[in-house]
């Protein structure tokens, strides 16, 4: 790889080609960005501002890659970052679960108002399992859900990345999430 190219781009390209080590190399930086962004938002005085994981990733991308990186790479980044984000969230939840079972009291000092009701949400591990199940017989849908909800990509970007029409992405997404909901909360 050319030395002059930003390493992020290199990693992104490798990651998009399925290079798992590239993905894991990216993770710390993604995390980096996410954490500091979260910190920024938490400090923000805008009350009622909802933190969205997706927008965090979006921002993380911008910070890491800069605004002048090619569109192609940007999309690749998102798709990789989406996967990274998912893994981070799930790994963390699993670690936490282990700790909980171990008896330590984990304190969550989260003081910003979040407009989500925890009753209706599912643990991320369950979402993750559902996605894994979905991927067994419809990988495309699973990826689309991951890209949109964990990567913050727009439908256009997903369409471009996967070579689909935007309409197709709409439909796939609509169905996939309904399916997930039904699996986890359906009667």
């Amino acid at each position: 790889m050319a030395d002059s190219q930003p390493a992020i781009t290199v990693l992104l390209r490798r990651g998009s080609q399925g290079d798992q080590s590239a993905i894991s190399e990216l993770m710390p930086y993604v995390y980096d960005e996410l954490r500091s962004l979260a910190g920024h938002y938490l400090k923000s005085e805008r009350s009622g501002h909802t933190l969205q994981a997706t927008s965090l990733v979006h921002e993380a991308y911008l910070r890491l890659a800069g605004a002048d990186v090619e569109w192609v790479n940007r999309v690749h980044f998102f798709s990789v970052a989406a996967n990274a984000m998912r893994r981070i969230l799930v790994d963390h939840a699993k670690t936490r679960n282990r700790e909980k079972r171990g008896g330590g009291i984990a304190k969550i000092t989260f003081d910003e108002a979040v407009e989500v009701s925890s009753d209706s949400n599912a643990p991320i591990t369950e979402i993750d399992d559902a996605l894994n199940d979905l991927a067994k017989f419809d990988e495309r849908k699973s990826r689309i859900v991951e890209m949109v909800y964990f990567g913050g990509m727009t439908h256009d970007e997903v369409a471009g990345s996967l070579g689909l029409s935007v309409m197709t992405v709409h439909r796939e997404l609509k169905f996939a999430r309904a399916w997930i909901h039904q699996q986890l909360r359906g009667l």
Binding site: P6, S36, L42, A67, L89, I124, L184, G186
Partner: protein
């Protein structure tokens, strides 16, 4: 839970198709569709209906779940109270930061209780790298001991696999919070800041750069001792590897606070001590204003780079919010020097910043002690303005104010007895003046040095607001003109008076008094600018008006007579001048009785005395001038331009009488007085300096004489007044001194310059006569009588034309010519000239006069 995931692909596709079709239908239609499509297949129906039901909740559900998980991750604490980290036990959490959380812990040994702060680095950073770097930095950091630096003690990895650093615990609040809660004054903040700078400098001396200076990293204990945290830790935690490309470095450097990042840091260039200096500048900015110079909340790296590398921060004094009570007070103190100090520390270019934290600290110290600071936008004008502020604006400004007030006051008093219309005008003038002074108040000036000069310039600009009120405008112009005059700024004054005159002429005969005064003031000014023709005309007109308004024996008439006499006097028309002076002298009693101008009588004495001196009547001159000095000493009480003038004139006469010691003492007094009054640059000061120099030269104190006359010439030049008789007097004196010192080449050039310049004055000007005489005498002295002769013949001719009333001058000129002719070998003409001159001078100037001695010397060759 997920059902047995495997589904027949066809079924799966069918499900989707039905779902999409059904979801586009509503209510009844949907139900019918589902019935129809799923007929017979309950499983399919169940799933389809389930999906349709989920459809409305699904978006929020998935989004929310992910979001919550994200929050959880972002905010999770890895460490809890009671946990053991190395030999320490966690007491409680102190803070959360970008790098991780900080906990208060105690050493668990029995040996001693030590309180420490443990920074646990969050998940995601390369812990092996961190530890490796920590080990590398550890020794360097251990050497950094300073009362204001929190020491780095230890490091390791927690049981949970997270890296941690152990630091000295500082019980305090961040420096900005400390200042805010204590309502610290600017001085207190600056002193705290200096302590911080000193600590940073110590670290720099140990080759440690902080890299992350910001308020959160500076804690101040309750007894006011600041301590810097995280010294060198940024380096440990930063990816510094040169093999790592810039973009990643930048990403990892999200650890640092963008608002405090220097341009070079943002660009990923090497970090140096200058980076800390920049951050100190930002810290100072924040301490003084309560906010950071750049807001970088929602910006991309590219935008951050642009802002930090290119955008200039607003000056601290300009960003203070009017709503923030504490800081409103600060604004006045910050504007100027502190603005400049901050600006210099925050320069984009490293080379333009303070070279060290110590120098930044030094400049702050200079500010605190009232000295000029090194940081300045433009050093020479800054220094001069600082000088002016310290010493002179006070005086000059006060003088300007007093003139305005006196001018106004006089009007007010006179007007009190008159019609309401006049009172109206006076009130308008007053309110305009008040608004003027609001401009003048330096505290309103937002950090710029305001001089009296600026005020007037601004006021001049404001005057057009009064175009609809010519009477008010005219009166204001009158007042302002005199202020400019006092400041020696004749050009501005003249244009104002000109404007006033044209306004008045248009007004016709409604305010003859004002018109007459305008004419007189303008005449006065023109006179000072050697425009004698205009001055004479205006004076005569003014006189005529006053005589018309007040009759023959009124003080205003006397005033006008004095102006006219003086004009004629300076023009060289001594006979006419004496005529008018004597008229005024006749009215001395009137002057004393009626004049509101306390100076009129003494002005008369002074002018007349001067005339007597110019005509060679030294005893008379001394008498009148001496009287003038005495009266002014008594009535003016201390320094006053008129007193200085009187003293100088009197001294000149004494000098002519040969009383050199007395003359010197008086002239020194006059010079000192002028310096106190006018500052370093003023035409009258320059003239006085020349007079003193002349006296010193006559006494043989040539070195000092030369120094003073050079200073005088320079001053004339600076004030654009080199083309004046007064300046040429100085030039000739310098030429004489140089000639006596042996530098004939320069002396000749100067003499010739004097001739050329004075030729530009009115024809047959006394100054030209003097210049020609000096040049001619010089040429003769250096043995070039051929060249001297035409010059001296011209000189004699002029002298004869203008100095009829003062034969000794003609005699002096003749003597030079005689000497010249003698050198050329023509004794017939020469001898009588010389001998006659000696006689005349002995009679009229006495043996002590310099001219007499010169002539005697010439005659004896």
């Amino acid at each position: 839970m997920a059902s047995d995931g495997c589904m027949d692909p066809n079924r799966w596709l069918r499900m989707q198709e039905l779902f999409h079709q059904a979801s586009e239908l509503g209510g009844e239609a949907r139900g019918a569709f589902v019935d129809q499509a799923c007929a017979g297949d309950d499983e399919l129906r169940g799933m389809l209906e389930g999906l349709l039901e989920s459809d409305s909740h699904a978006e929020d559900f998935v989004k929310g779940s992910v979001q919550e998980a994200a929050h959880d991750v972002m905010d999770h604490d890895a460490v809890n109270s009671g946990d053991r980290i190395g030999p320490y036990q966690v007491v409680r959490k102190l803070a959360s930061g970008g790098m991780g959380s900080v906990y208060l812990a105690e050493r668990a040994d029995d040996q001693y209780r030590q309180r420490v702060a443990i920074k646990v680095i969050r998940y995601g950073l390369n812990r092996q790298d961190i530890l490796a770097r920590f080990r590398a930095e550890r020794q360097i950091l251990a050497n950094l001991t300073h009362a204001n630096v929190a020491r780095l003690l230890d490091g390791g990895i927690t049981a949970g696999g997270l890296p941690y650093l152990v630091m000295e615990f500082v019980d305090g609040v961040s420096i900005d919070e400390y200042c805010r809660s204590r309502q610290a004054t600017v001085r207190e903040r600056l002193q705290l800041f200096r302590t911080v700078c000193d600590a940073v400098q110590t670290a720099h001396n140990n080759l440690i750069v902080h890299r992350d200076i910001k308020p959160a990293n500076i804690l101040v204990s309750s007894d006011g001792v600041p301590k810097l945290l995280d010294f060198g830790i940024a380096k440990i935690l930063t990816v510094d590897d040169t093999a790592t490309p810039v973009a990643l470095t930048r990403a990892a450097d999200r650890l640092m606070t963008p608002e405090y990042a220097s341009p070079e840091q943002v660009r990923g260039e090497p970090v140096t001590t200058a980076t800390d200096v920049y951050a100190l500048g930002v810290l100072l900015y924040e301490l003084l204003t309560g906010r950071v110079p750049f807001r970088l909340d929602k910006t991309t790296p590219a935008e951050i780079e642009r802002v930090i590398c290119q955008q200039s921060p607003a000056k601290p004094s300009t960003v203070l919010s009017a709503t923030d009570i504490h800081f409103e007070v600060f604004r006045k103190q910050i504007a100027g020097d502190l603005d400049n100090i901050v600006t210099m520390a925050m320069r984009k270019e490293v080379s333009r910043r303070y070279p060290s934290a110590a120098q930044l600290s030094e400049d702050v110290r200079r500010y605190l002690e009232g000295f000029p600071v090194a940081a300045a936008p433009d050093s020479w004008s800054y220094r001069s303005s600082k000088f002016v502020r310290r010493h002179k604006v006070g005086v000059a400004f006060a003088a300007a104010v007093s003139v305005l007030i006196v001018g106004f006051g006089v009007g007010m008093g006179a007007l009190a007895a008159r019609a309401a219309r006049e009172r109206d005008t006076a009130e308008k003038v007053l309110s305009f003046m008040v608004s003027l002074f609001q401009v003048v108040d330096p505290e309103n000036a937002r950090g710029r040095e305001v001089t009296a000069r600026e005020v007037l310039d601004r006021s001049t600009a404001k005057l057009h607001e009064l175009d609809g009120e010519p009477v008010v405008q005219a009166r204001l112009l009158e007042n302002m003109g005199s202020v400019y005059e006092n400041l020696g700024l004749y050009d501005q004054s003249e244009s104002l008076l000109d404007r006033e005159l044209s306004v008045r002429r248009k007004m016709g005969s409604s305010d003859l008094n004002g018109l007459a005064k305008n004419l007189k003031d303008l005449a006065e000014l023109r006179r000072r600018k050697q425009n004698y023709a205009s001055a004479e005309a205006l004076s005569r007109e003014s006189l005529a008006l006053y005589q018309q308004i007040y009759g023959p024996r009124a003080f205003r008439v006397a005033e006008a007579l004095n102006t006219l006499a003086l004009t004629l006097h300076q023009k060289g028309d001594y006979a006419e001048a004496e005529k008018y002076y004597r008229q005024v002298l006749d009215m001395r009693d009137v002057l004393r009785r009626d004049s509101t101008d306390p100076h009129l009588e003494t002005a008369l004495l002074s002018n007349f005395g001067q005339l007597m001196a110019d005509r060679g009547k030294l005893e008379d001159a001394a008498r009148y001038l001496g009287e003038c000095v005495e009266i002014r000493r008594q009535t003016l009480g201390g320094d006053h331009p008129r007193l200085a003038l009187a003293i100088a004139k009197y001294a000149n006469v004494l000098r002519d009488q040969g009383k050199l010691a007395e003359a010197e003492a008086l002239l020194r007094e006059a010079v000192a007085m002028r310096e106190r009054l006018h500052g370093a640059q003023h035409p009258d000061l320059a003239t006085t300096l020349t007079s003193l120099a002349r006296t010193l030269a006559d006494r043989g104190k040539t070195a000092e004489a030369e120094q003073l006359v050079r200073r005088s010439i320079e001053m004339h030049t600076r004030l654009n007044r080199l083309i004046t008789p007064e300046a040429m007097t100085g030039v000739r004196l310098l030429a004489e001194l140089l000639h006596n010192g042996g530098d004939d080449a320069v002396a000749e050039a100067l003499y010739r310059e004097s001739v050329e310049t004075t030729r530009k004055l009115t024809p047959n000007h006394p100054a030209l006569a003097a210049s020609l005489l000096s040049l001619g005498g010089f040429l003769n002295d250096i043995g070039r009588p051929l060249e001297a002769e035409p010059v001296l013949r011209e000189a004699v001719a002029i002298h004869q034309a203008i100095y009829q009333p003062a034969p000794w001058r003609i005699a002096a000129a003749n003597a030079e010519l005689g000497a010249c002719l003698l050198a050329l070998g023509g004794t017939t003409e020469a001898r009588p000239l010389l001998d006659g001159s000696v006689r005349t001078l002995m009679e009229q100037r006495g043996s002590a006069a310099a001219e007499t001695k010169r002539v005697q010397q010439l005659a004896s060759r």
